[in-house]
Symmetry: C2
Subunit: 201 residues, 2 copies
């Protein structure tokens, strides 16, 4: 792969290959340790094409993050019209987030490695907005459930976090284990437990 043999034209395919190559390299060897040269080599694309689409390694990284965030928002928009009981809607929401996560596992692994890992100089991207958004969606549902008499009175925030906790631990099990100890259906059963309670009444 030489950048001097012929002039490459930018193309949608080249752009996608660059995003894919960067994701693999950032996840496997870290953001800091990955060079523009390596990304281009892996993508089979010349440097000018990378600069044309993303301006820099930073730009490529931010595009990955923004694409992921757009997919997340699109999933939320799809959920807007879901009906059913509040329990069904909370569970359906968590299942959708779980599915979206599993569909883009390397990207979510990259997000976790940036969030929990040693600082690597990646440009800032607000990763908290995912949680803030999910907290807001579940919070609205729970409040609706209280108003409708489906959910008992109580601290809405605690209820939201208890639900989110089950989703979060199920997702985290998918990230680092060859054999996750929890799957989607286990998460759903855990959410039913949060609604029904463990204690004999």
């Amino acid at each position: 792969m030489s950048s001097t043999t012929h002039q490459q034209q930018p193309s949608v395919e080249a752009r996608e290959r660059l995003l894919g190559a960067a994701l693999v390299l950032f996840t496997q060897q870290g953001y800091a340790a990955t060079s523009v040269r390596e990304i281009c080599l892996k993508a089979g694309v010349t440097k000018p094409v990378l600069y044309y689409y993303f301006k820099s390694k930073e730009g490529l990284y931010l595009q990955l993050m923004e694409d992921s965030h757009s997919r997340f928002e699109a999933m939320l928009a799809d959920l807007g019209s879901i009906g059913g009981s509040i329990r069904q809607r909370v569970i359906r929401f968590c299942e959708s987030v779980f599915d979206t996560t599993v569909q883009q596992l390397p990207l979510v692994q990259l997000i976790y490695s940036i969030y929990y890992g040693t600082p690597q100089g990646a440009p800032p991207f607000d990763l908290e907005q995912y949680y803030d958004r999910m907290l807001l969606v579940i919070s609205t549902l729970i409040q609706e459930g209280i108003d409708a008499g489906e959910i008992r009175e109580g601290n809405v925030n605690d209820m939201v976090w208890a639900s989110l906790a089950c989703m979060s631990i199920a997702i985290e099990e998918q990230l680092c284990h060859c054999n996750p100890r929890l799957d989607r259906s286990a998460m759903t059963r855990m959410l039913h437990i949060v609604f029904d309670g463990l204690a004999v009444r």
Copy 2:
């Protein structure tokens, strides 16, 4: 700090300073990027003292991990004689794990950065054993609760994970946020929700 000015004697204090310096450097700049020279410089200790106690950077890292694991096992041993209802014992267990975590936050941050971060060549240490151990403790308690009629019949595994999820998300909030959105008392209230359930019956 020069290693040639005088011959240093190994001492318990020097050993502790090495562990402290390594923990800070591993957490802040990563395991791979930290050299024996930097650790010694930060600890104010000569290289032979490091080699005397730990043999290598790998040995120092493993000692940090083993010390942390010993503290975890000591905490579990302290909990062995706790009485009360199963609900009280599960909550007390989660509160103890939470407290032990907060007392050694930089170490737990290092564990998370190794677990979720880009591979850095740190020697293998079984981080799964923490979860496996906690799953076993809570599982035993829940089964006891079912046998005693305090907990309803059901999938013990799901019940254990729903409890552990609340503890886990509360701990994770302490790791990366200047202002965690959850504290110890929020975790306790979330665990009560898991026992009581959200739904009006």
